[in-house]
Structure formats: C-alpha cells, structure tokens
Amino acid sequence: MSRFVGTCTLLVSFLRRDRWMLLGWIGANVAVYWSQAVGTKAIYPTQADLDRAAASMESNPAFIALAGPTRALDTIGGQVAWQSSVTGAVLAALMSMFLVTRHTRAEEESGRDELVRSSVVGRDATVAATILLVLLANGVLAASITGSLVGYGLSWTGCFALGASAGLCGLVFGAVALVSAQVVRSARAANGLTGAVIGIAYVLRAIGDVGPGALTWVSPIGWSQAVRAFAGERWWPLALLALTATALTVGAVALLHRRDYAGAPWPVRPGPARGGLHTDLGLVWRLQRASVIGWSVGLFVGGVSYGSVGDGVEDLLGDSETSRDIFLATGGGDLVDSFYGVAVVMLAMITCGFTVTSVLRMRGEEVAGHAEMVLATAVPRARWAAAHLTITAVGTVAGLLLAGLGLGLGYAAVTADSAAVFRFVPAAAQQLLSVLLVGAIAWVGYAWRSRSGVLGWVAVAFCFVVLMFAGVLQLPGWVQDLSPFHRLPMLPAEAFDLGEAVLVGASTVLLVVVGHVLMNRRDITNQ
C-alpha cells in the first residue's frame, strides 16, 4: 500500500492547520440547532402556543421555501428540524467544500503539494488524507449536533436523524468539491463550481417543496430533509446520501488518476499573442467576467424557478380557515405578494455571495502580487480600486435585476399576469441598496486592512441570522434594524419607504468614501 504512505502524517498536519477553522464551522453549525431548541421553548412556553405557531407556519409558503417541508411543527423537535436543517446542511456543505479545495487544488496550484510529494508520501496520500479529514469533520459535526440536542432533552432517534442527515449532506458536497478539484485548474474555479452546485441544490429543494415535489428529489438537501427527523423517521434517504457521496468520491479519484499533476482532463490552449486589454477596468472585467456571467445566469434561473411557483402558494394553505386567518393577520396583505417579498430578499442575499466575493477579489490580487504589477504602472490606487468596485457594482446590479426579471417572467408564464414583472423588478431594484451596502462593508474592511475584508462575510452572516432566526433568538428590534434587508420594506407586499431607501443608500456612499480614505493611507503588502 505504498500509495498511501504518509496519509496519517498528512491528516495530522491538516488537523493542526485547520483546527480553528474546524472549530468555528462545527461550533457555528451546532449553535444553529441548539439555539433553535432553546429559542423555541422560550417563545412558545406552552403546547397551546406551539400549536398556534405551527398552524400559522404550516400555511406560509414563503417559510416553506426558505426552510423546507413542515412536519410535526407542534413539537420542539419538529421545530428544530424544520428551522435548522437547511441552514445546517448548507453550512456542512460549505465547510466540506472549503476543506477539500484547500487541501487539494489550492495546494497543487500554489506548488506546496509538490514539496510535500517530493518527500516520502504515497501517490494517493493527499487525497486519502483529505477524504479522511472530511469524514472526520462531518462525523464530529453529526455527533455534536446529536449530542447537543440529546443533552437538551430531545429524543435520541430524532436527534440522530438530524445530526446524521447534516453530516452526510456535508459528505456529499465534499465529494462534489473533490470532483470539481479534478476538472478545473484553480481553487477559485473549484469553489465556484461547488458553490454553484450547492446553490442549485438549495433552489431545487425550495421550488420542489412549494411546487413540483419531484425537484426536491434531485437535491441532496431535499434528501437530508426527507429523513423526517422527529416526524416518524425514515432511514433510507441517509443511505441515498451515503451512496452518492461514495460514488462521487470514487469518480473523483478515477479522474485524479487520469489527469496530469496540476492539470485538468483537458490541456490549456494558447491564446492571443497581442493584448486586447487597454485599461485596468478592462483587466478587472476580464478577470471577473466568468463570475459575473455565471452568477447572473444562476440568479436569473433562480428567479424563474421561484416565479414559476406562481399562485400555487395559495394551495398550500389548504382548507384550514383558521390558518388562513392567522397568516393574514400576522403577515398582513396578499399571500402571494408576501411569498414573493421573501423570495426577493432570498435572491438578494444570494447575490451578496457574488458581491462580497467580487470585492474581496482585490485582496486576492494584492496577496498574489498582481496588484503591485498594476500599481507600479501609472494607475493610481484609487483608480485600481474604483475599477474593481465598478465591476462589483455592475455584476451586482445585473445579477439582482435579472433575478427580479426572472421572477416576473416565471410568474407571468404560469399565471399570464405579465404585469408581475413591474412588481418584482422594482422589488429587486430596491434590495440592490441592501446588497451594495453589504459590498461597501466588505470594501471598508478590505481598505482598512487587507485581512479585514472578511467583515463582508460577517455582514452577510449577520443579515442571514436576522432573516432566519430573529424570532427564535429574540433579537431586539434595534439589532434587527441593523440589517438593511430587515429595514427596507418587503416589496411588493409592503409599501416603498423613501426614507429608509435614502438611509441605506447614503450609508453605502459614506462607507465607500471612508474606504477610499483608508485605502489611500495603508501599505500594499502581500499578506
């Protein structure tokens, strides 16, 4: 087995390098489940409270699209499973993706793997250690989720079902990342590809849960919820997840054996000997166009998918008069509009993924030493940054408006109500203000210190927590108001508020200016 010589040593070194990262991901994921259990108990102290809440939630298609099919919502376990499992699955998927890419393609791309391989390390040791690492991480995650909920006092079987479905979901997407790492040449592209698969899995599940159910069965996230934790568990979807993860891993290893070191299954083609790039803006566009186009297409398709649910959301109400009354009393306004109000916010939050990544591309350029090549020419720092921010803004505007357009077109195709486009596109346009504000936060962080660009992701995580968990965490109103997505009215269900829009827009402008000042004062380094 000389192919695997050194696997253990590598695994130990991976664990050492990743210890804080693993602790963060697993801790955050466990907190999502555990806080849900504690929070549910706190807001609905009696069974009657829980029953009433369950009735209103079961009837709300927007909630279903966000969180998944509703089962046993009149129990704490059912509430935890419903509210946490999508977030948990996505977090597990992202953790696995970062772990896999970091130790495979990123190492190959940087040349560090070459150094490792030159020592006494078997041909398959790196990939074996990576697979073991992901198994271990998701195993610990599953055990921690199970343990924390059992510790809280929920039933063993339900807790295990919930933990195992999150862990296995992580393994499936870890295997997807392993395949991606074989077919593209850069870590960035590998993460992009895997991220797209996770996004598609999420959207398919969302559409499937409110509309054509078959779509849910195309998504691993859907399978993980089909385990029905705390609602008469069935175990075979877990086997489906495990089989898929195994098959993808085997496929990835086969691809690995067929390709050249640091290569991909196909060769690099030569390009033009003369440059068509004339400006720094042209360069940034060239670097980001694949990402802009990919995200725009993805967001448009996501919009069309949400839109094609049409008026079907009405059907989910069923015949229950009480639930309809409760929903209309609490949510207010038109049911379909409020569903689409939430859909627009979801699409806007997904757009933040592009926006923050795009802003932080500057950090990537700086660390790689590309920035200094440009800044050593006659391009001033401010112009270099402005070129990047321009592309970020263009991509954000294009992506989110296309999402709104898709939403309207999808809806119009199903309901023949073509005026919907004029309701949904302005709703998306309004949320542009929120997304650009998040981008501006990433920019200020980066402009302050290259490393602090991560503030952008902190802002996205915060807005996501406010959207999904504000109720259960009982966040005070002023904290929720810090999220622009919460501040701005949910068009088209609510009325436009000029004051709030100006406030969010002005904050963005202010942050961009502050970032400009900070950027012009600091050192350009390669750390």
């Binding site: 033009p272 800044l375 020419t377 006659a378």
Partner: protein, 297 residues
Amino acid sequence: MINGLRKTFGSFAALDGLDLEVDQSEVHGFLGPNGSGKSTTIRVLLGLLRADGGRVELLGGDPWSEAATLHRRLAYVPGDVSLWPSLTGGEVIDLLGRLRGGLDESRRAELIERFELDPSKRCSTYSKGNRQKVALVAALASDVELLLLDEPTSGLDPLMEEVFTECIDRFRGDGHAVLLSSHILAEVERLCDRVSIIRSGRTAESGTLAELRHLTRTAVAAELEAVPRDLSTLPGLHDLLVEGNRVRFDVDTDHLGEAIARLSAAGIVSLTSTPPTLEELFLRHYGERLEPGQEPA
C-alpha cells in the same frame, strides 16, 4: 534620493535609517543578505509602502503622494513575478505597457525575439524564468528613465542573462538610471557603476567597486631574504603566518603601501598580492557584525 529611511512592520524595524542615491546614467547595485530590506526599500520607492521616517525623493517627486505620475517615468520588475494565470504573456506585456502610458512597438518585438519568449502561452503555463521575461520585456519596451529591478535574473538561464546584460547596458547608454538588486556577483561586477550594501535595514557601505575594494584587505604572500622582526607591529596587518623565509598575511588595503615598503627593505625574493574578490567583499559585509565605528557617515 533616499535619506535616513525608516519603515517598521509592527515592532519589527525593516528599514532603520537607510541612505541610497542613484545618479543618472548609472546602474546602481543594491546588495544585502536575505531579509535585509532590499525589497522593502523598492516597495517604498514604488509608493506601495509608506515610509515611517526619513526623506525619500524619486525622480524629483514624492513616491507616496505622486506615485502614479512618477510611474509613467519608471518600470519595475519584481523578484517573484506573479502574473494573471488566464492571460497570455503577450496580453500582459501590452496591458502593462498601456497602463504605463505606451510601449515601443519595435522594441517589444525585438525583445520578445531576443528573450525567445512565446507570447501566446497562458501565464499559468510559464516557468519562473519565463514569467520574469514577460516582466522584463514589458519594462524594457517602455519609454522610461528609471528601472527598479528586484533580483530580475534569478530565474534566467546564462544565455538570457547575457541578453539582459546587453539590454541594461543599452538602457544606461541612453542616459537612464537603474537600481538593480541582485545576488549574482558576476552580474553586479559586470553591470554596476556603484554599489550599496545594506544590512539590517541600514546602509553598510556605498561607493564604486574600486572604492569598496579599498576598504578591504589584500592577501600578500612573499619570500624574503630575511623576515623582519617587527613585521607584526605593522598597522592594519592581520593573520600573519611565518614559515622560515616565507610570510603570508592580510593587510588593510589602506596600509598596503607601508607593508610592501617594509618587505622591500627586507629584500623580496618573490611576491604575490591578491586583491580581494567581490565574494570576499560581500562575505565581509554580509557576515560580520558591524562595529559601531565602522558605520558609514
């Protein structure tokens, strides 16, 4: 050009009172051990890093506040050239040239041919030496007055190194200046008019190679008719070794004349004197601790 430059990263003083001056039509060698602050100095000159103290003047301007304007008149080749993996070498050369304000087309073509560079390959497939060639072609094909080169030839093969040397000679011939950081002593000896050696963020020595040699010791071996008794009392004499009528010693170059006079008085049978090699010169400055009295004024 640079006077008493200081730059700290946290509590670490990367540059601690550095002085450096490069004249027109001069290739100035910039030498020092790894981590002595050469790249930091060049990055301050490029306005990428902000100086914490001292005075820095570049082409008559302030490299921090007038960075972009000054960059029209200079070109830079980093030691570790990192290029956009998805662009071709040709695209990068054209882009960097245009961003600087223009490229001499005929020189671009000539340089690509002389450096034997395939401009249609993607940068991800270039070796280190080829990436360096891309940056060198982009720098040398632009119309500038100053080149800032940070170990530009560390990845080049000897043939390409020769091409590089010729290009730099021609650039100097046009009346332009070069700051060349390098560890390749043959290259420094061949190209540089003056040299500055830095250690631990400050200038240890600066001058022409002849001047620097003057500061070091010459090795002398001689066979004498009779060895004078008081030879060891000569000023500036080191490592004296006497074997019968043969003597060997090192002498500070300043005191070479006196030493030879003394030997001559004793009757020289044979004499060899070896001037210090460049290697010895550098080893002395890289390796030894600077005595307080030895610091340059």
